[in-house]
């Protein structure tokens, strides 16, 4: 088991290095250098820059350095927690990201828990009652859940909530709680502001997972060991929940790794519609205005989260399925 974890960790480290490299490559992709963006901005403000100043800026941004040198500068600074300076606000990238990332992760984790708690029982029910009316209804609802784009659902719920005066748009906290220390009341207040986002995020993921759960369970129910379990005289409920679900749940565990970052990302559109200040809208803005240091850093951080998620998924899988441990 320890061996397995170490192997996974080494693998992950290597991947992170390569990912950061590719991530930086993408940062450099957009046409026009960082300098052009900066110059345009200064000119827009009405400023005029001399040739010497331009040359100084070139050195500062390392425009003339080869790719590897620029990468090295970026990555060493990033490792020291200095992710460069956003062109847009001249504010430290690191600071801006951490503020929002926390909320994104929190929101997504919450949605994830919700998803799991809902989709497993529904998937089991759907599989064990295949081709019955409830199964058809569940299937139909799932498809609707999958087919409705999250941001539209967000919009509709937002309209309903606004009409009912049930939500304050555009922030995470009411004014009186913004600077207050964490307390239960503050948490409730946060919930009041983000519940639509949680619902929207959970609906799509739940629909998908329920579907997977149903399909897996149907596969597993055809396995010989299910018949063995029945032949022992076990109650059908025990057969399903002890013997079948434990085996059917593995892909769900594996999906856990990718689901967390997927939720963080899925929240991009939803948060844009709901004007919730999380990492998603920030990433989008950065891309739109070609603030590539910010965008690239977020991309690498998200990849990092994905890898961590995968690692957690793998470890959980090893815990659930004894076969994995000995591979």
């Amino acid at each position: 088991m320890l061996n397995y974890i170490i192997r996974r960790l080494v693998n992950m480290t290597v991947l992170i290095v390569i990912v950061s490299f590719v991530g930086f490559f993408i940062i450099q992709l957009p046409p026009g250098s960082i300098l052009d963006v900066q110059l345009t901005k200064i000119r827009e403000r009405g400023g005029d820059i001399s040739r010497e100043q331009v040359a100084a800026l070139r050195v500062r941004y390392g425009i003339d350095d080869p790719f590897t040198v620029r990468y090295w500068k970026w990555i060493t600074r990033s490792l020291q927690g200095d992710f460069g300076t956003s062109y847009e606000t001249d504010q430290s990238v690191g600071e801006r990201i951490w503020n929002r990332l926390g909320f994104s992760v929190g929101l997504s984790t919450f949605a994830l828990l919700f998803t799991w708690l809902v989709s497993i029982p529904i998937g089991v029910y759907s599989a064990t009652h295949r081709y019955t009316v409830p199964d058809y209804i569940i299937t139909a609802v799932q498809f609707v859940g999958l087919a409705i784009p999250g941001f539209l659902l967000a919009l509709v719920l937002l309209i309903i909530a606004t009409n009912l005066n049930a939500i304050e748009v555009g922030k995470l906290f009411s004014d009186e709680y913004v600077d207050a220390p964490w307390s239960f009341a503050k948490l409730v207040d946060l919930g009041r502001h983000v519940y639509i986002a949680v619902i929207v995020l959970a609906v799509g993921a739940t629909a998908g997972l329920t579907r997977i759960m149903r399909a897996n369970l149907l596969d597993v129910l055809n396995m010989q060991y299910i018949q063995t379990a029945r032949a022992k005289g076990l109650d059908e409920a025990v057969v399903i929940w002890k013997h079948a679900v434990r085996n059917a749940i593995q892909p769900l565990v594996m999906a856990l790794g990718s689901l967390l970052p997927a939720l963080i990302v899925g929240e991009t559109l939803v948060a844009t519609v709901l004007s919730i200040p999380t990492i998603g809208p920030m990433y989008l803005t950065a891309l739109r205005i070609q603030d590539m240091y910010l965008a690239g850093t977020i991309l690498v951080i998200l990849s990092f989260l994905l890898l961590i998620g995968n690692l957690i998924g793998d470890l959980l899988l090893a815990w659930v399925d004894p076969r994995v441990r000995y591979e």
Partner: protein, 340 residues
């Protein structure tokens, strides 16, 4: 009628009478069992032999009431008598998932399957899976259950029972897994063990070991066995009596000696001729003409007549032969127009 086959008044563990099971699929109705009747004498090993798709496994599963839910029971009785002096109960009177039925499964009647690789749950240790049955039917005490599990593992000849109990199925070989399955099936000392091709997936050496083990366990515990197989060689090794099945019917029923030395039904004869024998390798090995008919269609008359070398035209293709007693003393019966 059809249940007159055993003239000897012996004690049967299970008596199946005119069992009919059909499957309703998208492509049509499959009549898997067309009135199967046979008995399993107490303390004996009954071999049920036939080609793939003849209904052997469905018969076994029917006794456990574990036929896939698409299969419908369309008549017949399955009488089970736990003790020689006890009352018979009709298993089909119980609901599939009723407490009574579950009380029988694994406790009075247990079953082992063909694929040792997939018949154990990969997520639980072998010990855990054996204890599960013991805890269900025998004792509530977990410590006692685990002790009994190791006991039974010792009995089935596991070299290191305590270690095996804490192993996962994927850590064991096919033969070991089948031993574990047998241990699980026998953990509650059942009256009847249904073994559905338990050695088909194993190599010959392992097969011999497992058969020997089953024979030994059968003698030790006194369990009756219904041994489903397509292999006549295996039948010769383990069975006391044999029922030959063809297309959802028992076509011949006799003692193992009679089946091999006095076969009556043309199908049984053909089956025996298709076994390769050492020292007699002159010419091609005989095979049965044609193949098993499409399961969705029905054959009129004797189901074997399209492939039968001695079919009587005008009779075999229109009238279903009834069960005929060939030798009442030995309980030898056959369903063939040649003997009516």
């Amino acid at each position: 009628m059809t249940n007159s086959h055993t003239a000897t008044s012996q004690d049967d563990v299970v008596r199946v009478e005119d069992l009919k099971v059909s499957f309703y699929t998208d492509l049509g109705v499959v009549r898997a069992l067309n009135g199967v009747s046979f008995n399993i004498p107490r303390g004996k090993v009954l071999g049920v032999v036939g080609e793939s798709g003849c209904g052997k496994s469905i018969t076994g599963l029917s006794i456990m009431q574990l036929v896939h839910s698409a299969g419908r029971n369309e008549g017949g009785r399955i009488l089970f008598r736990e003790f020689a002096d006890g009352e018979s109960i009709n298993i089909l009177d119980y609901e599939r998932n009723s407490a009574e039925m579950r009380g029988i499964r694994g406790n009075n009647i247990s079953m082992i399957f063909q694929e040792p690789m997939s018949s154990l749950n990969p997520c639980y240790t072998v010990g855990n899976q054996i204890e599960e049955a013991i805890l269900l039917h025998q004792t509530q005490d977990a410590v006692e259950a685990s002790k009994r599990a190791i006991d039974i593992l010792t009995k089935v000849g596991m070299p290191n029972p305590a270690r095996i109990a804490s192993s996962y199925p994927h850590e064991l070989s096919g033969g070991m897994r089948q031993r574990a399955m047998i241990a699980m099936a026998l953990s509650c000392t059942p009256t009847l063990l249904i073994a559905d091709e338990p050695t088909t997936a194993l190599d010959v050496t392992t097969e011999a070991n497992i058969l020997e083990l089953m024979r030994k366990m059968q003698e030790d515990i006194g369990t009756s066995i219904m041994f489903i197989t397509h292999n006549m060689g295996v039948v010769a090794q383990i069975c006391d009596e044999v029922a030959v099945m063809y297309l959802g019917r028992i076509v011949e029923r006799a003692s193992v000696d009679d089946i091999f030395y006095e076969p009556k039904h043309p199908y049984t004869i053909a089956l025996l001729q298709s076994i390769p024998r050492l020292g007699r390798s002159k010419g091609r090995l005989a095979s049965i003409e044609g193949s098993v008919p499409d399961p969705y269609s029905r054959v009129s008359g004797c189901p074997f007549h399209p492939r039968c070398p001695v079919a009587i035209s005008g009779v075999c293709d229109s009238v279903v032969p009834e069960e005929t007693v060939v030798d009442a003393a030995k309980g030898h019966t056959v369903r063939c127009h040649l003997y009516t």
